[in-house]
């Protein structure tokens, strides 16, 4: 039996099916935390960067990536943590941004605040708190529909 190593393109596609544990509508690839996929001999090396240094999801993400690859038959896996260059919301994919908004989380913007309410689309907004339910989010509120919502902080 000849085992053929999957291409790195295939691996990227598989990883794009691994949901972020805290925002399951986007994948770990959408989030921009998978930095590199490469073969080192027979070992598949996946470089992952944390969003925030204390993000408790980081360990879960590593487990889920490993489980997803094992389910595809990859046995020899090495996960590497890469902190430089530091993660930035610029690495969020366009697909990820659209899904965040559909899910009710305003995507990050360089302007430092949400463009519109992800629920009703109004633009009269106020910041409630710089910190939200996870390290990567802030709490905002729409003055039009009066609903609070999460904003994915731009860093």
């Amino acid at each position: 039996m000849v085992a053929v190593a999957p291409s790195t393109d295939d691996v990227w596609e598989w990883l794009d099916l691994v949901p972020d544990p805290e925002i399951p509508v986007i994948s770990v690839v959408d989030l921009g935390i998978v930095r590199d996929v490469d073969w080192d001999g027979d070992t598949l090396v996946v470089a992952v960067t944390p969003t925030y240094s204390g993000c408790p999801a980081t360990a879960i993400i590593a487990l889920e990536i490993e489980a997803a690859l094992r389910a595809r038959g990859v046995e020899d896996i090495r996960l590497e943590t890469r902190i430089a260059p530091p993660w930035t919301t610029d690495w969020l994919s366009q697909k990820g941004r659209a899904r965040l908004e559909e899910y009710g989380i305003a995507p990050p913007r360089a302007a430092g605040g949400p463009a519109r309410c992800p629920r009703c689309g109004a633009t009269d907004l106020e910041r409630v708190s710089q910190f939200g339910s996870t390290p990567c989010k802030a709490q905002w509120r729409c003055r039009d529909c009066l609903e609070p919502f999460d904003y994915f902080k731009c860093i």
Partner: protein
């Protein structure tokens, strides 16, 4: 011993200075992170509770990187967890400021602001460190410190320039914490070695920019800078911690002391 090079005394000294410096960085974030985490579930409003818990989480995440590298540099097989949970008071190298008790919410926020003002400046300079590992950690941490200082500075202004009650409490907090500020800018032989190697800035070099930021925020907060020039020190060298650190460690290290070697 043929072929095995014995490290020279100066190389060993450079290694121990670097280890010491990394402990200082990691112990500051560890002890402050633990202190801030004591607020979890107790903050005056939900938003602040979440903000405090998130700040603590950032600081503890940074600790893992600093103490992880410290253990690597030391080369004795100690992990970040070993360094955090298996050292005693005198082995800690944090500034006295960060081990001070939380007091009321105002005192916690003021302590946070004084630390953040220094931290963001220090980390910014460390992104140019000659040691690439240190520059990488600083590049990650400075993003977090930047929004920490934004929030703590805004909150100091809001409370200082707030009600009569909040102003009085912030002034009392400032009077209490002010003597712990000077230690940030006092250099010693370790700092000299770091500055000489281009690894870290001399602490004295941070004084002007840090104090400018602090004075601007305190002025806007309508708070009066205490006249005392006295500075408490001894935390970063480990020669004299305050009594509070030991009490903090009894909580933070309880599990490892009751069940040595316990793991998940």
């Amino acid at each position: 011993m043929g072929g095995v090079e014995t490290p020279t005394a100066s190389l060993l000294e450079a290694k121990s200075d670097l280890f010491e410096f990394l402990l200082r960085m990691g112990d500051n974030t560890l002890i402050l992170g633990h202190r801030v985490s004591e607020w979890c579930g107790h903050a005056p409003v939900l938003e602040e509770d979440i903000a405090l818990a998130n700040t603590a989480l950032d600081l503890i995440g940074q600790t893992q990187m600093w103490l992880g590298l410290a253990g690597e540099v030391e080369g004795q097989g100690r992990s970040a967890d070993d360094l955090a949970f298996l050292r005693d008071v005198w082995d800690f190298r944090n500034l006295l400021l960060v081990e001070q008790p939380n007091g009321d919410f105002g005192q916690t926020i003021l302590r946070q602001f004084l630390f953040d003002a220094w931290h963001v400046e220090m980390l910014t300079r460390l992104t140019d460190s000659s040691d690439a590992r240190i520059a990488a950690i600083a590049g990650k941490a400075v993003k977090e410190a930047s929004y920490h200082v934004e929030r703590s500075g805004d909150t100091v202004i809001g409370l200082g320039d707030g009600t009569e009650e909040s102003h009085a409490r912030m002034q009392a907090a400032l009077d209490r914490l002010w003597p712990y500020l000077g230690e940030m800018f006092q250099g010693d032989a370790v700092d000299e070695a770091m500055a000489g190697a281009g690894i870290a800035p001399a602490p004295e070099a941070l004084q002007t920019p840090v104090m400018e930021r602090i004075e601007a925020v305190l002025a806007e907060a309508t708070l009066t800078i205490p006249e005392t020039r006295h500075a408490q020190s001894g935390g970063k060298t480990g020669t004299r911690h305050s009594e509070h650190l030991g009490h903090l460690l009894t909580q933070m290290q309880w599990l490892q002391r009751a069940y040595p070697g316990a793991t998940w």
